[in-house]
């Protein structure tokens, strides 16, 4: 098979199927990961907790994980002085 045959093959198959494949992947990825609100959520959480306990930004971790149809929002807050039951986890399940 010469190089000319290869280009003929690509032209026959067409680039549209490649476009569709790439789009399906990127769109699925972006739909699942719309986490624009995470930094703001983190900031507001610090403000609320800060009302009661003195903490700083480095002591709170906010993460969002996806598995199938379920999203898990994990909050990891370390209180100063003592560690409260290792970590406090809040699981929020939302339908994607």
């Amino acid at each position: 098979m010469s190089i000319f045959d290869y280009f003929r093959f690509v032209r026959q198959k067409g680039s549209a199927s490649l476009a569709k494949e790439r789009l399906q992947i990127i769109v699925a990825h972006e739909r699942g990961k719309n986490t624009d609100y995470l930094p703001l959520l983190q900031k507001e959480l610090i403000a609320v907790i800060g009302k009661y306990v003195a903490i700083d930004a480095s002591q709170i971790k906010v993460e969002l994980e996806h598995s199938g149809d379920c999203s898990i929002l994990e909050l990891n807050i370390t209180l100063p002085g003592q560690t409260i039951s290792a970590s406090q986890k809040a699981d929020v399940a939302t339908a994607d």
Partner: protein, 286 residues
């Protein structure tokens, strides 16, 4: 069915329905679609206002051939420097059609949510449809254009970046609109696929209608073929829907009919069979 619809509209005036024409990506045909669709609704007898939300880069007036008749604009009305009746431009070709141009000099922060709400509320009392021509992007102007919408026409080209941006816009419609914030029934989404070339789809060079539908998963309102009539119309400042002979104009007329609840089969999706002489001498597209 349709008769009953018009009857109700004519009798006890219900509030105007708000349609946003949006896409995320620029240059895909939002303004062309806004001009065509609003003209189409007006030609069907509905009193229609079309608003340009692209503050600083207004173009709707040019596409509709009203650029020399702009005195006051949307921002003037918001700032109470002019009344709505002063700012609305009555279309010269189509009855029932009014254009509210964007400001060319102010910046888009002048579009306050309260200001836009007031203008839309006032328009809703006397109009049947309000078409909001959104700017490209997902910034303030685009968000304001979609915020009050009941319907969204998502304008997409069969091309990767446009489809991706449309998907992003669908996410924003579902989360940042008034309907989403107030927990009302969601905005009705409609896909308008523009610059479609069935020949290239057959050759496997272009995403097909079904490909795009599979990815975006919203109902298809119309497929507008790639057409020389669109540039011709914009050169002349006449919405392409008024070009009765053209394929793009017919496609927009079909889309308006479907929007009004009529079932019209899709045209311009299949490649047209060329005749012997056309093949021989090369076809000239409409």
């Amino acid at each position: 069915m349709l008769f009953v619809f018009i009857f109700i509209k004519g009798k006890g005036k219900t509030l105007a329905e708000i349609i946003v024409v949006t896409s995320g990506k620029g240059g895909v045909g939002k303004t062309t679609t806004s001009a065509a669709f609003s003209s189409g609704l007006a030609m069907r007898g509905f009193k229609t206002a079309v608003i340009d939300f692209d503050v600083g880069l207004r173009n709707l007036d040019l596409i509709m051939g009203a650029e020399r008749r702009v005195v006051y604009d949307f921002i003037n009305v918001i700032n109470k420097e002019a009344s709505l009746t002063q700012a609305l431009i009555k279309d010269k070709r189509v009855d029932n059609l009014f254009i509210l141009p964007a400001s060319q000099t102010r910046d888009k922060d002048a579009l306050t949510e309260e200001g836009v709400a007031q203008v839309i509320e006032e328009l809703q009392k006397t109009f049947d449809y309000i078409v909001c021509d959104s700017p490209a992007g997902i910034e303030h102007g685009a968000l304001m254009a979609l915020y009050f919408a009941d319907h969204a026409l998502v304008v997409t080209n069969p091309e990767v970046s446009s489809v991706r941006d449309s998907d992003r816009i669908l996410g924003i419609l579902a989360s940042k609109s008034r309907r989403a914030e107030q927990g009302l029934p969601p905005i009705k989404e409609h896909m308008i696929l523009t610059r479609y070339s069935p020949e290239r789809v057959t050759r496997g060079e272009m995403l097909s209608v079904t490909d795009v539908q599979e990815i975006l998963a919203i109902p298809l309102l119309g497929v507008i073929p790639e057409s020389k009539a669109v540039l011709r119309a914009s050169n002349a400042g006449v919405p392409v829907i008024l070009d009765k002979e053209s394929d793009a104009g017919s496609a927009y007329r079909d889309a308006v009919s479907r929007f009004l609840g009529e079932s019209v089969p899709h045209r311009f999706i299949q490649e047209e069979k060329k005749g012997f002489f056309q093949r021989l001498f090369g076809g000239v597209e409409a």
